[in-house]
Symmetry: C2
Subunit: 153 residues, 2 copies
Amino acid sequence: MRLTVYTDYALRMLIYLAIGDDGQARVGDVADSYGISRNHLLKVALELGRLGYVTTTRGRSGGISLAKAPQDINLGEVVRHMEDDFGLVECLRAHGACCIAPSCRLKVLVREAIGAFLAVFDEYTLADLAADNTALRSLLDLGQGHGKLPSVA
Amino acid sequence: MRLTVYTDYALRMLIYLAIGDDGQARVGDVADSYGISRNHLLKVALELGRLGYVTTTRGRSGGISLAKAPQDINLGEVVRHMEDDFGLVECLRAHGACCIAPSCRLKVLVREAIGAFLAVFDEYTLADLAADNTALRSLLDLGQGHGKLPSVA
């Protein structure tokens, strides 16, 4: 089971922006920090812009910055927006061809499970991922942060 | 977000066996009924056999049958067994390369969401998918069933 690379990159870009000094960065710098494709990340940035999560500025001093405070960016909404296909099994897809779909309870069960999955994300905002970010800033080579991150498993 | 085709096919094969007259079928017949690859389904059948969910019999009259009663086949276990990769995002994969993984809370959150997803499947057994199966038997061209399936969305 996988989330798309776009959802993964979107969450990572938002984390980067939220722990940065002024919530602003260049796409190339974010891509370099994570060691991921600049082109892929550029598409993600444009989509995040279209969705109103970030603003982009062109030019030499341009970049990307958060359009909302981290506590106003709900992670369930981000995942729902970026992950455009929740067709986990054939019967949930637009052109699904499973012959028992009209009467099968599996799709009801899978929908319930997807709901439970997203409900967990709904409980958190970007601020929860960015709080106490000394360790994250260090790992992204962003200098000193604003607190000590508790140990996570 | 997708489950693998193997998990999808495994669930469909188990449903087919559970609603059949004697819990037995030929892989080719199951593949034909669903309109899916016989070769893919054969691999799924062998894996279900290895996991103890079905027994396979060789020869002209051979086939595949449930090794347990449907109510003893927990769907959460089936999904955990068949879906061998829950690396939804980079940091949860065996060779994940996200530089902030050591201190990032995203992986904690995603693990919690996967747990909530699987907990829904844990609440059901194959018997829940196979009960009142008139409509399912009809759709699979298996003749009359044993009750009326309630309408599902």
